[in-house]
Symmetry: C2
């Protein structure tokens, strides 16, 4: 069945190229209620009118690709699958309300193991005040698969897409960057040591912050609420799952703009910074390309500067330019670097 | 991580017992918009008010469990994953409007193979007039995994749950039963023959109907529309994925009623009937326990008899009784059999 005369390997296409190729046939909507489909953090449906739109997003996580059960406790995994999906709803500037969770499991899991997973799911549902309203539980011949669909609500005026960034807008980011990636590196290092010598206990003492950032990321619902409270509607927004650079490029390409950021403005936690050095990584590189921070990256009009400057947990890291496709970082030494999806290059 | 002092094998619990156990902590809702969560064909959300509620359902299908790619063409698989999800929305007496599709794929699939899959998805979206509005595409270390979330709309008065069957209600079923299971048996037989002797070509001539019922089941949106047109709101409804008996029991247990059906009323396609005999199966058994027919099973008040009797594609097969938990089939010879989840037993 797979012997086509012309076979194109999936690896020949990038993820985004692949999705765009596959979904190119799906962009004409027949339902009047469909406002926005594929191409943002979530879909938008006009489901009625207490004035609110319904926001919906779905993610799949597979064992060995998105998580490694040798260092990811099931309770954390359950929490994380919910948090990263709610993060997509937040990235639309919407309030998450419900989730559906489907899991594919093999019989190597006991009931108690699945309960652990759901314990984490429940913990996240409680924290973010969302209802678990459905799902599916099926057998999987291979590893664990988790698919979560998250639903949220927002008023049409406050929904924030990726394509609204304007020239001179300020680029903002919540929280700090890079720590989740550093945490992953520590976990991987301890796993290697354990595999080489199972008698050595994992030593993660002192690295709690970065490890927790990897194992238990948060959806920045608090930031969405703070923005709303401050009267700020971002012009564009995305959550940072793949890394700052990659997400900057999404905002830039969908808004047809360029982005300039400043290395000395990148929010990096001091503990994560030291952990980076200790493990032989460059903190700026982790912040730019680490991924899995699940912080919010957004742009706001300069006129909102006074509103945003005093917000906790939000840093202004740069500004939007008219140079479409030009993504630049000004280094601490005032040199201009071209940002690239994995790494950066001196101009 | 999985070494618990008390380990309960998942196989020790039935599917429904397992789901009920896992979701028992999730039945207190914090969101005012959550009308119905786990426990029916789909969840119901009060998302606004053009008077409509949002209906949402999700299903996961895994390779080697829900489908066998050696006889399931990818295009059919794509179509089927959408159809079976829309069937859940129909089973709430709602009109499907959007879908989200996530797939986990390994690199043994080419781009062309994934295109085939999406071709089937697109075909189904067009047929049922639903929009594909989102999804996720991820790597899977093992087999193909597909997770679909379907969304629909219905007025609160017309939404049909599983728990509303009343004594003396008529039990109705759409289309015909058992053919999908017979089709599966033919496909499995041809696969065995092929594996034993790869030079023999599959011989499915004359069995098109049952094979198509297995490979390309339909969501009975036409029946939902016909019921609406006839002014019928069923008192309870479910779609037949696991088999008539199993679904009768769902309606019965959630409505706290018994169900009596008549063997001679079971709608069995004449071709499927002959195919059953040819392959050594009993047609009644296939109709009762075959599964994957994706027909609608529903109950209506006796007062709607005149409205339903002339509907195409709908058969009246029995009636609801007050004997909670008693599921009975009256045979062609007027004997009373107790229906059991897999099979039936003489009383």
């Amino acid at each position: 069945m797979f012997e086509n005369s012309g076979r194109t390997e999936l690896s020949d296409l990038g993820e985004f190229e692949f999705i765009s190729h596959i979904t190119s046939n799906f962009n004409k909507f027949v339902q009047a209620a469909t406002i926005k489909g594929v191409g943002d953090d979530a879909a938008v449906l006009d489901t009625g009118s207490n004035g609110l739109h319904t926001i919906i997003s779905t993610d799949m996580m597979t064992e060995g690709v998105h998580f490694d059960l040798s260092y990811m406790p099931l309770k954390h995994l359950g929490y994380k699958t919910i948090a990263v999906n709610l993060s997509d709803i937040c990235a639309m500037n919407a309030i998450p309300t419900q989730v559906l969770v489907s899991i594919g499991i093999s019989n190597r899991f006991s009931l108690e193991a699945v309960e652990e997973l759901y314990e984490g799911i429940r913990y996240a549902c409680e924290e973010y005040k969302v209802d678990l309203v459905g799902g599916d539980t099926v057998s999987s011949k291979a590893g664990l698969v988790i698919s979560v669909t998250a639903i949220g609500q927002a008023s049409p005026e406050s929904i924030t897409y990726r394509n609204g960034a304007k020239e001179h807008d300020l680029i903002c980011v919540s929280g700090d960057l890079g720590a989740a990636f550093v945490g992953l590196k520590y976990l991987e290092r301890e796993k290697r040591i354990f595999l080489e010598n199972p008698e050595i206990q994992p030593d993660l003492v002192g690295h709690d912050y970065v490890v927790e950032r990897q194992l238990k990321p948060h959806a920045r619902l608090d930031v969405i609420k703070a923005l709303s409270h401050a009267g700020i509607v971002p012009t564009s927004m995305i959550d940072i799952s793949d890394g700052l650079t990659s997400e900057l490029m999404h905002l830039g390409s969908q808004s047809h703009k360029g982005m300039t950021i400043y290395e000395d403005k990148l929010p990096i936690d001091p503990v994560a910074y030291q952990d980076c050095i200790d493990i032989g990584l460059e903190a700026t590189m982790c912040a730019l390309n680490g991924g899995e921070d699940y912080e919010l990256l957004f742009t706001i009009p300069q006129s909102d500067f006074d509103k945003v400057r005093n917000l906790e947990n939000v840093s202004i890291i740069g500004h939007v330019t008219e140079d479409e496709g030009k993504y630049v970082m000004i280094s601490k030494q005032q040199n201009e670097y071209k940002l690239e999806a994995q790494g950066w290059k001196h101009l």
